[in-house]
Symmetry: C2
């Protein structure tokens, strides 16, 4: 990672204590937090943080950056039909991948995220260029980035339960071995933790992956010490499909394969039953909660309070911009915590704003096997930090700073943001790239016209309605 | 209402058609929409709206402005316990009411709202000053405002079901007759539709109001042609209480009293059963959906898709800033539509962004008996209009403008906003008041300190846990 300033001091920052807040100075040298105390002697540049809230950076722990190109335009459909529209409108040029990775990083940064997990959809035939483009973007902008090439070895048609019908699936366009070789080349070329770039093994999920693909991914993960990532039980259809395919639950099957461990993070986890929850807790895998895409796609409400009670580590993800048409982590954290108050009358189980902050920061770090390095504000940790300006919290009295940040829908509240001590946001502006240029580059792509004809879903839609027990189309 | 510019023309605005969009000019004179067509001869000031989206204003159809003073700080608690903290921290000076009404109006305006319904909590002993302060704020800032003095005639303790316990409730501090007289004086003094200020009759709800208070309110409503407003079945406790009190549902009881008609809007409506829904549809009353406070207070998820299928008119409200710590209508509309996708597998029932826009504008107008005057972009209607700048929609390609507005979490996208043709927001800035002054005035109130001791809830909490069947406190 490009080295930050050799030394600087954040002065008089408000930081949370067990119950309340205290005002401290924080000394950072060579990217590390060296001291936290009242009235430290200033070293290097001094940043006056008086009345401002300093927190560890959040993790956007599951997104698909290239979906930025389909933001705001895909119809309200369940995942399995939504994918059909998604494929129709997918970007096909690596240069677009570079731009959408930058754009996704910008919105993550401006809502407090210092780390991103990009479950990266690969352009067919240009897989390595896709990965290279995303890595280039993240290195340039300076966000800590986990690039997780999204792999599968079954075609889309295999993703629905059969319900006794006999449907032949066309073979997937690339063999399992080729796919694993592709990931291994990406590891050799790009995996570089000291530069803040990490490759993950990331089979998309049980619905489109063979056991061989999971096993090959595990082997790579073990050989190169890579974190593991996958979608898990996002929809009811996937829940039913797993029972058909494995005669057991998806969690049980993945556990038997050995895919689930403390370095595995699993996006969605909407359709786990109580036995699955007990089992998942044992594996020490992390749940990545994507509440907004779960709502937009009608996938369901993940049993988050049950996960907490089972001791499962949880963090948040925005998911891609085509299924949550924003990459605002603060929105995800707000909704992703409040939503679950409706699932348990006992308010003593509800998630507080302080707990939400910890889930978004330390929870993210744990899931990425980085809890020893980032995720808390502690001496000896890497300075992935965010300073929030409370005057950006709309029209408000001075009330609880974390309450206002998490519940108050602040408008671009990030004043400073550092990744390994390097300033990425300064006075509310992303400084490492030319943001007006980026916005204009992306805006030049005009994806709508007033007469956009609906994409023909018919064949897929008929089958979907049949297997989900919905009525026939008129 | 202070007259707007005599005449102006919005040129080349993008407006929705049945399926897509078209570009039109809109001529406005003396506060009315006079013409909508391509290439109209410009009259008066010309506003270049090229590539920008013009929509009818939204309605923030249920809020409590004075809760701005408790934003971000009340613990995650269910309504009945949350109220205890709310009362502890309530503002007590009419000058505070003036400031918080301005602040609530600002956030409503900057998220596309041209009308606000303020279910106004009255300062004990200063009831008329409270109403006067809110009216003054709304007249100054120029938002169309329904001021609904929140009235009750039972004390807070009456708001929980008895479950066979015999609990004496202290009498409420003001008699039913005095309360109704107070509302009538407010009507005589402030109700002035031609100035954009409307008084509503607004008993808080069945949990704290006698039949006499409802009946007195209905009489005032009939005598002065006032809209009616109340909370309805926000919580499970209220559902149970109604059955105890009336031996029938709250909807049935209010219908028998005659309170429900086409000029009645009802906040929350979380706990209606199927029979209630059928009955409510017959009354033609409007449901005001407050999804965010329903989540924060764990009240539940309103059966919104059932309301739609029953033909009930629906619109949105932010609710007060102590139970949804933001007054951003776009946030409420996004969550308040997507949330319900999880309640029905058949995506053909899901709410589209275009339908959401109509609910927030025309739906609001219908509930306030103003559908003949506002709520759509039509010649002959009053110019309560909003022009959105799509370049504020974060980093995005040009995709569906309404999709981006509703789903994309834009950052202060309102470029112009007019109420009866009067410009209230110009180039993204509220022009009718001094916003930096307001923000500073409110920020001077420091409501937190690092050692804020938890408010003692014990007696109320024990009773609440008992009647709700939750476990004993440790």
């Amino acid at each position: 990672m490009t080295q930050g300033q050799a030394a600087f001091t954040i002065q008089n920052a408000l930081v949370p204590t067990e119950q309340g807040y205290q005002t401290v100075d924080v000394q950072i040298t060579d990217g590390w937090i060296r001291a936290i105390a009242s009235e430290l002697p200033p070293v290097g540049q001094v940043i006056n943080a008086s009345g401002q809230l300093l927190l560890p950076g959040f993790v956007n722990a599951h997104t698909h950056s290239s979906e930025l190109w389909q933001r705001g335009m895909i119809s309200p459909l369940p995942l399995e039909l939504w994918l059909t529209e998604l494929y129709e409108l997918a970007p096909l040029e690596p240069e677009q991948i570079y731009l959408s990775a930058l754009g996704t990083a910008v919105e993550t940064l401006l809502s407090g995220g210092t780390t991103i997990v990009d479950h990266l959809v690969l352009i067919p035939g240009k897989e390595e260029e896709t990965i290279a483009a995303a890595v280039r973007a993240y290195r340039e902008i300076g966000i800590r980035a986990f690039v997780a090439p999204l792999i599968q070895d079954l075609s889309l048609e295999a993703g629905l339960p059969m319900r006794g019908e006999s449907i032949a699936h066309p073979p997937y366009g690339r063999s399992t071995a080729e796919t694993l070789a592709l990931v291994e080349r990406a590891v050799n070329q790009f995996h570089c933790p000291e530069a803040g770039i990490y490759i993950m093994v990331a089979p998309t999920g049980i619905q489109l992956c063979s056991d061989a693909l999971f096993e090959g991914s595990m082997a790579l993960s073990d050989r190169y010490q890579l974190c593991r990532h996958a979608h898990l039980l996002e929809t009811k259809a996937q829940y039913d499909l797993a029972r058909e395919k494995y005669s057991c639950s998806a969690v049980e099957h993945l556990d038997r394969l050995g895919f689930l461990n403390a370095q595995t993070s699993l996006a969605h986890c909407v359709w786990l039953d109580d036995a699955d929850i007990t089992l998942l807790a044992k594996t020490r895998a992390t749940v990545v909660h994507n509440p907004l895409s779960n709502l937009r796609l009608g996938s369901g409400i993940a049993p988050l309070l049950k996960y907490r009670r089972a001791g499962i580590n949880i963090t948040f993800g925005c998911d891609g911009s085509a299924s949550n048409d924003s990459q605002d982590l603060l929105e995800v954290i707000k909704i992703g915590t409040m939503l679950h108050n409706t699932t348990d009358f006992d308010y003593r189980h509800w998630i507080t704003p302080r707990e939400a902050v910890q889930m978004a920061s330390l929870g993210g770090a744990i899931g990425l096997n980085l809890a020893g390095q980032i995720g808390t504000l502690e001496v000896g940790k890497i300075a992935d930090l965010v300073l929030y300006d409370p005057t950006q919290h709309g029209v408000s009295p001075q009330s609880d700073p974390i309450g206002l940040l998490i519940w108050g829908r602040p408008i671009q509240p990030v004043r400073y943001l550092w990744v390994e001590g390097r300033p990425i946001v300064t006075e509310g502006q992303v400084t490492t790239i030319d943001l007006p240029w980026l916005k204009e580059e992306i805006r030049q792509h005009n994806l709508w016209n007033s007469e956009r004809s609906p994409i023909p879903l018919n064949r897929t839609e008929s089958r979907y309605r049949r297997v989900m027990g919905l009525g026939e189309l008129a």
